[in-house]
Amino acid sequence: MTGPDAAPFVDRPDGDLAREVASAPAGHAAAAEGELYRRFARRVRLFGLRYLRDGMAADDLAQQVMLIAIERLRAGEIRNPDEIGSFILSTSRMVATGLRRTERRRQDIHMRVEVTEPTAMPRDERFFDADRIRPCLASLRERERTILLLTFYAERTATEIAVGMGMSAGAVRVARHRAVAAMRDCLEARRSA
């Protein structure tokens, strides 16, 4: 019978990995640290894309936050490793606030993290490509396509779109949800085809 410790890292809960990092001598749980990094760096990066609106700044944020998280785990400073996701999210908010405050600090962090954390940032470029997007966009109803373009290209709010299209903001959001779901179904179907 195989014990839980022998399970592949990818199948282990976040809390297990965090506990392993916390209980091992510093630097002796590299695989668990790597798996935590793989799981959480992309979440922090996505968070950073929303708040910092810049891919490089989001990369910096992810590296800085993960560095803090791993160091705090190694030092036994995270009281409840099962709440590692919550700790990383609150650290992301704190660091992002600092990053937004000064561009100079962003550049300092970039230089420092490049030296201390050479791990490649996970990318999310595999989902959709333009060749699949075009026919799926074309398959939408006109109203839904217009709403999608105004939202994601022109970056208009539902209220602004509603005024321009003679709809309520709620109806715009419903139509956008429907359009996004239809796009996802279409893109998945084309990926598996």
Partner: protein, 194 residues
């Protein structure tokens, strides 16, 4: 494995995260969930990809849609080369695209009183259907809808008249069209230097 702390979010909900529409409560809920759920992290990344790729497709002039002046302004700011025509109901225009055009825009004008949505059909003068659109939104009081076509698509169109017919989406079968327009398509032109 990141465990699921609560029910997973829909792609629609997650796509709100990338807009300014999400309330602080929505944002908090999405972030808290995503930081404990691997499946929703994938979906959030997919929603991010979707919004960026939609933008890429528009900037490349590869989108066919009914658009607004706001979107045309954004295209201008992005440096997309747009050729524009305007037509009244029953009108015709000699139209062509040039080799550096990226999007062809036509303002289709008519009396749309009482109409909230339109269906459009484009036919070659042979009767062959060339394009179709349904549920084109018409804001109250609007006297035009703006059709955008990729210049590349127009370049490949046959050099024959193309007739566009607009009907109310709520019209019964056999009801007269609201407006018709004729594109006397003259093909693609090349600018000669010197």
């Amino acid at each position: 494995m990141t465990t699921r702390s609560s029910a997973c979010l829909s792609m629609g909900e997650l796509s709100d995260y990338w807009t300014s529409d999400a309330s602080p409560e929505d944002v908090e809920r999405i972030e808290t969930h995503v930081f404990t759920c691997g499946a929703c992290t994938d979906l959030l990344a997919a929603a991010d990809q979707l919004r960026r790729r939609v933008g890429d497709v528009v900037r490349a002039g590869a989108v066919q849609a009914f658009v607004t002046d706001g979107l045309l302004n954004q295209l201008a700011r992005d440096g997309v080369r747009v050729r524009s025509y305007a037509m009244n109901a029953g009108g015709s225009v000699q139209c062509a695209v040039w080799d550096d055009d990226e999007i062809l825009v036509t303002r289709l004008r008519a009396d749309f009183s009482g109409v909230t949505a339109l269906d459009a059909v484009m036919r070659l003068d042979t009767g062959e259907e060339w394009g179709r659109a349904s549920d084109i939104p018409v804001p109250e009081g609007s006297r035009e809808v703006i059709m955008a076509l990729p210049a590349e698509l127009v370049r490949r169109a046959p050099e024959v008249p193309i007739r566009l017919t607009l009907r109310s989406s709520a019209a019964s079968p056999g009801e007269s069209p609201l407006a018709e327009y004729t594109f006397d398509h003259r093909g693609a032109h090349t600018r000669r230097s010197g």
